[in-house]
Amino acid sequence: MSVVSGPPRAVYAAAVETLAGRVVGALTGANDAFRLAEVLPPETRPADRRAGLAAVRVLGADALAPFWVAGHQFSPDDAEVVAMSIRTFPLPELDSSASDDYAAETATWVRVLREWATGEVLTRLGESGYSRPYPVRAGAGGGRERGWVAWAGMLAALSPLAVPGLDSALHADVQCYRLDVARGVTRALLRRDHLTAARLVRWLVVCHDGPMDPPFAVEPVVRHLELVAEPDPRLRLELTMARSGLGVEFDD
């Protein structure tokens, strides 16, 4: 994995983009032999290894999408890479008391829920020992007390949970409040925040009751976002996941 030098955020962002590009390749059929272990090539510097592990951690359940969605062979080496990423970048200590800092509390929720999703996907791939209990505080109506804008922002950060097959109280909430998710997509598009729009579109695609269920046609939104997605691998990954939920054939 090519790694640039600099502060951790820049290095890790580059590693995330590289891994996202590989995942997209595996999902679209451009990369026939996807292996997560490729993020840790032998004889690399410790800093480069950590960048690869950080990329796996950041993408979370999406890094496993080639195995989970596209049917690539999941090997013990791949499971070990995920385990190493969890050990190297552990969850922060959870504070059980209610916090006044809404942003910090939301960030903690996001991390715990993403951890839960990764554990669920790993369990379904046949790996035991990764399953985590669903966080009680993320139950029905969780995170909605600040209104639809903040809630939709939180949903965008939780887009790795928006995959077919995962089910939780959050998924039930999204089904109940689809109009709020659609508002979030519209607001993000107006602000040219394409990544957030694509992440919310994934939720609309996954949590629906029928083909005409979302408040607006999702496919044209995905097509519009694809026109601007080319230089951004993370945006392309979100859109590829949305496409896989729509059941539409990939162009390439």
Partner: protein
Amino acid sequence: MAPFDIATSWIVEWKEFWMQVGHTTRTAGGGLVASVAERAAVAELMTPSESLVGRPSRYFPRSTVATLLLTLLVSPAEPDDDE
């Protein structure tokens, strides 16, 4: 090599050293845990770079504003012929 170059390379080497080794800690099991700064970078990348709540950076791009201002300054509105 000039003294300035020597000092620069020394600083770069030390920075590299701290980024690779010095900021990590070893767990009881022997594995390496990333530094606080590295874990913060990962946490930051997990959340969207822009949220729906904050002020959008691309709603009014600077180039658009600059073009609008230049247009107003260079070609002010013509007075009506009737006036």
